[in-house]
Amino acid sequence: MTKIKKTKISQRGWLFVPLLLSLAFIGLLFYGLNSDKKQNEIIKPFPSFKAENIFLSSQSITKSVFDNNINIVNVWASWCGVCQKEHSFLLSLMEDNQINIIGLNYRDKKESAIKWIEQKGNPYKAIIFDPQGKLAIELGVIGTPETYLVDKLGFVCFRYSGELDEARWNKYFLPKIEILKVNGSCN
């Protein structure tokens, strides 16, 4: 008698499965909605380009600037407020001298860009001048600031949208840089 009752109860328990499944699914959707969309790990070749180097107008800059280095490409503009906040961090990063910092000056006036760098200091080894945003759209830039990790073979390993600071650098970039130091390329 008691045996029969027990199986009845455990069978009833199954009735809650759809409800629990629905709740789990809703929970998952909420998680997806609130997760950090600022980063993205699509590995792809950095688009080929030939552009003006802001401080060395006589020399054009090409993809070979990435050769034999671990690089970050920082998209910035003098009209971008958040880029100002980020600037001091980039300067401290340059002092560490661990990686190549390349600037991508996005939809900016050349004089304003030069003035900004002269006032605030230059963390960049080279600055790609992209007044029309041509390279930026090929790269997939959504807004400024944005920072891309590029390996020595010219592959984009990781992208971060938004202001960089030490915490985010340590969280997102450092582990990937350590791997790059061992593997050479992320592709």
């Binding site: 499965v17 998952l28 959504i142």
Partner: protein
């Protein structure tokens, strides 16, 4: 008055669905098919800078540039699939309003069906068990007798 308001609101609601954005950029396409294809593409893709606008509706710089890029790619004779692939390669799956069916999205696509089927199974299960009485014949007789007594008392 109330009646009038109802009619007006109904009219507004019906009208709102027929409002539809059209391409406003200045661009000379080679032919009408290309123009139609470009129009379809910019409606299908989401502006990466906005929360919920397609490329056609958005005024942001990125959306404008992407639109022009798409027109150029259409002019170059690239197929819709190729263009979508280029755009997702740059901006990620975020630009797709309709996510592709792959191992990352399989759960997203199938979960509603799985849930629906499990609900049906549950309904069938409940109906079947309702028909069968869970009482033994002795208990059933007892219940019948109790009910009859109740009826007598009510009379």
């Amino acid at each position: 008055m109330n009646q009038l308001l109802k009619v007006v609101f109904l009219g507004l609601i019906l009208f709102s669905s027929s409002v539809c954005a059209e391409i406003v950029d200045v661009w000379q396409f080679n032919n009408e098919q290309d123009e139609a294809r470009a129009a379809e593409l910019v409606k299908m893709l989401r502006c990466p800078q906005c929360q919920n606008q397609n490329l056609l509706e958005s005024n942001s710089i990125v959306a404008k540039e992407m639109r022009e890029d798409i027109y150029r790619l259409v002019d170059d004779g690239k197929s819709n699939d190729e263009i979508i692939q280029i755009m997702t390669g740059r901006f990620g799956d975020f630009v797709l309003y309709k996510p592709q069916f792959n191992e990352k999205t399989v759960f997203l696509w199938l979960a509603p069906f799985v849930l629906l089927i499990s609900v049906f199974i549950m309904i069938i299960y409940i109906r079947r068990h309702k028909q069968q009485s869970s009482l033994t014949p002795d208990q059933q007789q007892l219940a019948q007798r109790l009910l009859e007594q109740q009826e007598h008392r009510n009379k």
